[in-house]
């Protein structure tokens, strides 16, 4: 169980607080994993009292908590929740916050431990951090700690990420900085290492000799919804590939760490980031496809094109879909492409890693034109977390007919206990000071180095690759299919 502390959420009126952070903290409390001496302080601009804030959070927790809402547990939890109204740029507001936290230390026994959660736009980071420092809130008394959680995106490119990291570094030590990527808190993402390194049968096969290629897909049927302005400035590459998908790639591709300490694991992930082959403009034109959704149908209902979404430029070239072929230039993965695709308005919501093994030799059952398909190990990150292995099987009967079958493991039905939400695990880890599931500075900057090459080719080249259109409800532009078809492969059917 973590030590007592005060969790201060900047941007407490935001969606993330209501949908994820408070339900996560409530669930931790309901599971009995929250220390008795823990307070939550919401810091935001809007005028609210503790009571109105709690009432709003109660409604949100009832709606979004995975375990429902127990009145008794909520009452006990809500008693520890407070609201602190202030502008982010108001120095006096931080002084009052410092006084209030000190008071809570005394009254609630939070022992001077602080966890600051920056759930705000990146533009606000610097000001908040400076004000925290000015108010002395980044300092720790003997035997206590102060940490900060920074939400993605960590900058918009390498330069801004470096600048942001410098700002954070000025206020907090790297070991006290937790860059959150909620994908890493998902049970199956954590299970990737267990699958690879706690089982004897996979690791011997986990290399270029036996693996043909890897596909990492993050698909969602939603459009940009109300996030038009943000998405216009970010796009799918920065919003998803740079963070979530490269993290998943690292977990799949990394070498076994020497131990399970945070830095041992992160050292191995950084090596993968560094091994990503830099892409030239020619590589990008050939191996990266960007797309944008047009009108179509999702769930049988017609939906509109990206360019007609609320607060999206009618001539926008922002990508809502990316497919790319990445190469990891190290001994283990020589010649094994990693195909990554991410998109909005795709037919279903699913994030999965598919490790496709090489075909059986072209003799016996695989002879000639009889391509019976390869073994595929699928790690489902969300929803329906689990793992499946596709293999070939003879169908019963006198004739020799081979069809694929699946061995399927579902977290949801295999264990009596429901999987915790990603934010539950990550908040607990941050409170406990375990940074294993958080991104380190060099990891973030290395990822930007790779992504910037693509962004630059798209936005600064004289002859940028086109933005390919795809109808909403389809699996992306045909150019993405051609990307794999050129290599004699195809996207797996999800």
């Amino acid at each position: 169980m973590p030590q007592p502390c005060s969790v201060v959420i900047f941007g407490a009126s935001g969606d993330l607080t209501y949908r994820k952070l408070i339900p996560a903290l409530y669930n931790i409390a309901a599971d009995g994993d929250l220390p008795a001496a823990l307070t939550v302080v919401g810091f935001a601009r809007r005028e609210k009292t503790d009571e109105t804030f709690r009432a709003e959070l109660r409604e949100a927790a009832g709606k979004f908590s995975r375990s429902g809402l127990n009145d008794e547990v909520w009452a006990s939890f809500a008693d520890r929740v407070f609201y602190h109204r202030s502008e982010f740029g108001d120095a006096a507001g931080y002084q009052r916050l410092a006084e209030r936290l000190a008071q809570l230390d005394t009254e609630r026994g939070t022992r001077g431990n602080r966890l600051f959660y920056l759930s705000v736009a990146p533009g606000e980071f610097e000001g908040i951090l400076e004000h925290l420092a000015a108010a002395g809130l980044n300092k720790t008394a003997d035997g206590s700690w102060t940490r900060v959680i920074v939400e993605k995106p960590f900058g918009t490119d390498l330069a801004t990420a470096q600048e942001l990291n410098s700002v954070v570094d000025k206020t907090f030590r790297e070991q006290d900085t937790f860059r959150i990527d909620h994908f890493l808190g998902k049970e199956t993402a954590q299970n990737i290492m267990v699958l690879r390194f706690a089982n004897g049968i996979f690791e011997p096969l986990w290399n270029h000799r036996y693996i043909d290629h890897v596909q990492i897909t993050a698909a969602e049927p939603l459009g940009v919804e109300a996030r038009g302005p943000y998405y216009e400035s970010a796009g799918a590459l920065r919003d998803m590939v740079k963070n979530h998908l490269l993290q998943l790639l690292c977990l799949v591709a990394m070498e076994p760490p020497t131990d399970l300490a945070a830095d041992s694991v992160r050292d191995e992930k950084v090596k993968i980031i560094r091994s990503l082959r830099p892409m030239s403009p020619e590589d990008i034109a050939r191996d990266v496809v960007r797309g944008q959704y047009t009108a179509g149908a999702i769930g049988g209902v017609e939906v509109k094109a990206y360019r007609t979404e609320d607060r999206v430029a009618p001539e926008s070239k922002t990508e809502t879909y990316v497919a790319l072929k990445a190469n990891v230039d190290n001994w283990r993965w020589a010649g094994v492409p990693f195909y990554i695709r991410v998109g909005k308005r795709l037919p279903k919501g699913a994030t999965e890693i598919a490790v496709q093994f090489k075909n059986a030799p072209s003799v016996l059952f695989n002879k000639g034109a009889a391509d019976i398909g390869a073994n595929v190990l699928v790690i489902r990150i969300q929803p329906d977390e689990g793992i499946s292995l596709r293999m070939q099987c003879k169908m019963p009967g006198a004739t020799l007919r081979i069809e694929p079958v699946k061995m399927d493991f579902h977290y949801g039905t295999s264990f009596g206990k429901a999987s915790p939400e990603a934010y539950e695990r990550l908040l607990l880890d941050a409170m406990s000071g375990d940074a294993t599931l958080f991104a380190r500075r060099d990891e973030v900057e290395g990822a930007w180095r790779f992504i910037d090459l693509i962004e630059n080719a798209w936005h600064q080249a004289d002859n940028p690759p086109p933005v390919c259109e795809y109808p909403s409800g389809s699996w992306g532009p045909k150019e993405a299919d051609e990307l794999l078809a050129r290599d004699g492969r195809e996207w797996r059917r999800m």
Binding site: G300, V301, P383, S472, G473, S474, R492
Partner: protein, 350 residues
């Protein structure tokens, strides 16, 4: 949708965006021995009337007794003015052969009204059980253009050409559509499956070397078929033509020419009874004959060779009902090369 139509057999009506959640609920029964969900294939059924939805659900329920699948029942009613989509989820559970476990298959049903505009494709894409093959049963006439992006996803296209009203034109349309399909797609015509056991029995006659010597003397083929089953009988003729390398000489009277046997007269007789009631090959002076009587599950095979007493034996007659035909289909993995050759031989006669 007809207000009076009872669609309760489809299960629970659910919002389209809640299908996955509602499916999960099906499996959380709270029972100590929860049912086992099984799926080896995605089985999509495309129909065009709400009446067919209820009938198909009944059929799927029986089908899942032997073939674990995720069933997608899709009914398209384009004539509706307002586009609308309705969805239902259901599970078909049967005791496994061992008897201890209840094995269940999911059925998701959709009623798509109004213009499709990519909605059909999206629905198929959205609800497939990943990594498993897609068998797509296209019921009725293939007169409508399906979205070309759907074709590459289909592993096995099942049709039944029997009720087609303009088969020559409809086959032509189907061929055009198949050009966008992937190379591994297998086309299966239930009308072709109807004659499967007759074809096997005919071939079996000539497994015996003493019978095979008479095949070059084949002079006539006499086929009996039930009213409405002429195309089934013609496909059987097409199979003979493709296998024995015949070419058409005259369409009426129907005569083929064999490079080995010379001219072969084909006689098609329509009689009440099974889809195909009999087939006699006359290889003068030998005859090889198959007969099937109404209600019987066996074919009566008779071999008459000169100077030898007639030989009789029984052979299985094969599937009759749609469910039996589908059952048969699921146990077979052959490609459609021979079927297309047989079809080519008789297309102009359809």
């Amino acid at each position: 949708m007809s207000a009076t139509l009872d669609l309760s057999a489809l299960g629970t009506q659910v919002p389209v965006d809640q299908i996955s959640r509602e499916l999960k609920k099906l499996w959380h029964t709270g029972s100590a021995t929860p049912p086992t969900r099984a799926s080896l294939v995605n089985f999509a059924v495309y129909c065009r009337s709400t009446e067919a939805m209820a009938a198909n659900t009944e059929l799927i329920s029986e089908f899942t007794r032997n073939h674990a699948c995720r069933a997608l029942l899709i009914c398209v009613c384009r004539e509706a003015v307002e586009p609308r989509v309705s969805a239902w989820v259901n599970a078909h559970c049967h005791l496994s052969r061992a008897g201890a476990k209840s094995v269940c298959c999911e059925q998701i049903s959709f009623l798509l009204e109004g213009e499709l505009k990519g909605r059909l494709t999206n629905i198929v894409f959205s609800h497939l059980d990943s990594d498993l093959p897609l068998y797509f049963w296209l019921q009725g006439d293939p007169v409508e253009d399906l979205n070309p992006t759907l074709w590459p996803w289909i592993d096995r296209l099942i049709i039944d050409s029997l009720p087609w009203t303009h088969p020559r034109w409809q086959f032509d349309r189907l061929h055009q559509s198949l050009h966008t399909a992937k190379a591994t797609l297998t086309l299966r015509d239930l009308n072709w499956t109807r004659s499967l056991y007759f074809r096997q029995a005919l071939a079996q006659f000539f497994d015996a070397p003493e019978n095979l010597t008479h095949l070059p003397a084949l002079r006539s083929v006499c086929l009996t078929h039930a009213p409405g089953y002429r195309s089934t009988a013609l496909l059987l003729v097409g199979w003979l033509s493709a296998q024995l390398r015949w070419t058409l000489k005259t369409p009426g009277p129907l005569v083929f020419h064999s490079p080995v046997s010379g001219d072969i007269d084909i006689q098609l007789d329509e009689q009440p009874g099974p889809a195909i009631g009999g087939c006699t090959l006359t290889c003068s002076p030998a005859t090889f004959s198959l007969r099937r009587h109404t209600g019987e599950r066996y074919l009566h095979a008779e071999t008459n060779l000169p100077g030898v007493p007639a030989l009789y034996h029984l052979l299985p007659a094969g599937p009759d009902t749609t469910l039996e035909l589908l059952d048969e289909e699921m146990t077979r993995g052959a490609r459609h090369t021979l079927y297309l050759r047989a079809l080519e031989a008789i297309t102009f006669l359809l």
